[in-house]
């Protein structure tokens, strides 16, 4: 979707405010949002891609005004209600008003270390060959789907060069919407700043973007 989350190349967001010594969390509620979001992972029925889409679906005016963990919180609440883990009334009251959804094994304290270090690879095995080779010139398609995509607006309709082949990976555009993993070849594509932005920066500047095969066509 062409949402406000797709920020590459936007102007007017002001300076980058760096905190000299920044804590991991700034408040207890941030700790809690982080922890419940992570702990719910193993029993949730949504994919990481659906989760990202839920966050980017927060209405623009709210998205831009919410802090990072606020967005996590809003997104998590929306997912929990949409998928029947809790009801809107339960969320409002903070109290369970009916039976829980049937879920798998809940994450236990003693399993956290394994969970945190466990792999959740998005690569998939394949017997296909990549459609593009390293060094090949491609052009990104001009797609504007209303659903989830990982082809940023600033990179659409532009020429680039295949820099790396990352293997075959789960395709977010379908996986976010319950349409399956439909894995595709994934490439790191190199674009010159001049190609993307129309003017030269001093010195050479390139932008590398990881793009799935169906985003690309031969140039």
């Amino acid at each position: 979707m062409n949402g406000v989350h797709d920020m590459g190349g936007m102007h007017g967001f002001g300076p980058i405010g760096v905190e000299p010594v920044e804590p991991v969390f700034h408040a207890d509620w941030e700790r809690s949002v982080y922890a419940v979001s992570s702990a719910i992972g193993p029993i949730s029925d949504w994919t990481l891609d659906a989760d990202r889409h839920s966050t980017e679906s927060i209405p623009g005016p709210q998205y831009l005004n919410a802090s990072y963990y606020e967005k996590w919180f809003i997104s998590l609440c929306n997912m929990l209600v949409e998928r029947g883990y809790v009801s809107a009334q339960e969320l409002a009251s903070g109290t369970s008003l009916g039976p829980a959804k049937k879920v798998g094994d809940v994450l236990k304290a003693e399993d956290v270390a394994d969970y945190v270090s466990a792999s959740g690879r998005s690569s998939r095995s394949t017997d296909t060959k990549p459609g593009f080779e390293i060094g090949q010139e491609i052009r990104t398609r001009n797609i504007n789907p209303s659903g989830h995509t990982r082809l940023p607006r600033y990179a659409r309709g532009h020429k680039g060069i295949i820099e790396r082949i990352h293997g075959v990976h789960v395709f977010p555009d379908t996986n976010a919407h319950g349409q399956g993993e439909q894995p595709q070849w994934l490439y790191a594509v190199r674009f010159s700043a001049k190609e993307l932005w129309g003017s030269n920066q001093p010195g050479r500047t390139d932008v590398f973007i990881d793009l799935w095969e169906s985003y690309l066509e031969a140039a």
């Binding site: 991991v24 606020e70 500047t205 990881d210």
Partner: protein, 214 residues
């Protein structure tokens, strides 16, 4: 002009006056429902507050500066190399290391959300996840670097990596001059979080000294 929108979000506040209350309420609901275990929550928080952070990545970089075999492995397969030091897991399943050279400076961003190599860098700082950095890193990286106090010479090519997939990038900064005889542990102290995102360079010995002096 507008009082209610003037303030910036550095993660320390919230537009929602009752956010703390609402989060607490959600947490207790999820516990009551049996979806999450309160003790697991504590361990998760502790893990990312004390165990998984940029010190992990610094150890990886320091090792690569000393051990040529390790450096080659890191460039070849960074997940395996970092894993050999015990750093594996979520948001680092497909780790790629980008080596800075005198000719080339690398810098990492996620314009669409906040993808970041957790096992080696921990959770990202607020600025990495915020609109100013996400919007400008791909279009004006040299300007962004200046804002971080790094003046990149025109001769140096700048390469910006937008993390749009599950590949996670970490930058291997250049080893500073005057560190020939340093131990791995001492070298690791020169490796800042920002130098592994690419918005900074590794500290020089003098800078480290200055940082230690109160």
């Amino acid at each position: 002009m507008s009082k209610s929108h003037d303030h910036h979000h550095h993660g320390e506040g919230s537009e929602l006056p009752d956010i703390a209350l609402r989060v607490k309420s959600l947490e207790s609901l999820l516990i009551e429902k049996g979806y999450v275990d309160p003790e697991a929550l504590d361990v998760l928080i502790e893990t990312y507050e004390t165990k998984v952070g940029p010190r992990n990545g610094a150890a990886v970089v320091a090792r690569s500066w000393l051990d040529e075999e390790f450096r080659k492995q890191l460039i070849e397969d960074a997940s395996a190399a970092a894993g050999s030091l015990g750093f594996t897991g979520r948001q680092g399943e497909h780790l790629v290391a980008l080596e800075n050279t005198p000719d080339t400076h690398n810098m990492v961003v996620c314009t669409l959300c906040s993808c970041y190599p957790w096992p080696v860098l921990g959770l990202p700082p607020v600025w990495y996840k915020s609109a100013p950095y996400r919007s400008r890193a791909v279009a004006d990286p040299r300007g962004v670097l200046e804002e971080f106090g790094v003046n990149m010479p025109d001769e140096t090519a700048v390469r910006v990596w937008d993390s749009t997939a599950e590949i996670r990038y970490m930058v291997i900064p250049m080893r500073p001059e005057g560190t020939q005889d340093w131990s791995e542990e001492d070298l690791a102290q020169l490796v800042t979080r920002d130098s592994m995102i690419g918005t900074g360079l590794a500290l020089t010995p003098d800078q480290l000294e200055a940082a230690k002096t109160p």
